[in-house]
């Protein structure tokens, strides 16, 4: 399959060893635009293998690794390849991966120059306010951002920085459900809603 562009191997019981086989099989497949590996057995070691296989995939647009357990170490591996090779990335899905604040700060630093990102999904990653400033700074130049998913984390007042940045971006879906947003966030959300001209869906349910 020399012309392969999109691969979905979700829930295929892939572990680090099988990922290495996949990596070998994808050598030279530089037309790859989509790689989806949701719900496998991918830990930080597996993330390192994935980062290696993506090092020459400069045409990759969509990377889906949700529902694995890459951790902050794996997030940093993915961050490094995002910074060094994935210059056209539009969708990054890292839901339920235990990346934590360290992982998100690493990603934020790596994606600071990226101007192509349209969708980022970080549901259930044990992140809180400590990584929100860096994340907000990273978002500032994402002039194509349409979707941001941060549900089921531990975010409190740090969401203010995010909503402040989102006022200037073309976001259509903003998801903050199941965090710990405080009453004071109301003014930030109000100002965001006044400013946005693109928003279609706002999820802030179950914040208590």
């Amino acid at each position: 399959m020399p012309n392969l562009q999109k691969i979905s191997l979700n829930s295929c019981n892939l572990d680090s060893d099988l990922l290495q086989v996949l990596s070998d099989a994808l050598v030279g497949k530089d037309k790859l635009t989509d790689l989806n590996l949701y719900s496998n057995d991918i830990n930080s070691e597996g993330a390192k293998v994935i980062a290696g296989l993506l090092s020459d995939k400069v045409n990759l647009k969509c990377l889906g690794l949700s529902n694995n357990y890459i951790g902050h170490g794996g997030a940093r591996e993915i961050a490094a390849v995002c910074q060094d090779s994935l210059f056209g990335l539009t969708r990054l899905s890292l839901e339920s991966n235990l990346i934590g604040n360290m992982g998100l700060m690493g990603l934020s630093k790596a994606l600071i120059e990226n101007e192509t990102l349209e969708e980022i999904y970080l549901y259930n990653n044990e992140v809180d306010d400590d990584s929100m400033r860096a994340f907000a700074d990273m978002l500032k130049n994402k002039k194509k951002l349409r979707v941001i998913g941060l549900e089921y984390n531990k975010i409190r007042n740090g969401a203010e920085w995010i909503f402040d940045v989102l006022k200037t971006l073309p976001v259509e879906r903003v998801m903050f459900s199941q965090n710990m947003l405080q009453p004071t966030i109301g003014e930030s959300i109000y100002n965001f809603l006044l400013a946005t001209k693109t928003l279609k869906e706002l999820r802030i349910n179950q914040n208590n």
């Binding site: 399959m1 020399p2 012309n3 392969l4 562009q5 999109k6 691969i7 979905s8 191997l9 979700n10 829930s11 295929c12 019981n13 892939l14 572990d15 099988l18 086989v21 996949l22 099989a25 037309k31 989509d34 989806n36 949701y38």
Partner: protein, 71 residues
């Protein structure tokens, strides 16, 4: 071919077809409980197909002994 239970008897002719077809761009075979033997047939077929641009094998067990060949 999503959410079926394609048996080896079904996979065999399918694999033969995949070897010959040149216009097929996308193959979706998720949720199919592809057997270890069928994995070999598919792997051999897909290896020689130069037209396919998109493949989905979601929810199939590629940790089976022959799963590696399909990858």
């Amino acid at each position: 071919m999503v959410k079926n239970q394609l048996t080896d008897a079904a996979i065999a002719p399918l694999a033969q077809s995949l070897m010959r077809t040149k216009d097929l761009k996308s193959v979706y075979m998720s949720h199919n409980k592809i057997s270890n033997e069928a994995l070999v047939m598919l792997a051999d077929a897909l290896a020689v197909n130069e037209g396919i641009e998109e493949i989905s094998l979601t929810h199939n067990d590629l940790s089976l002994p022959n799963g590696v060949r399909l990858i």
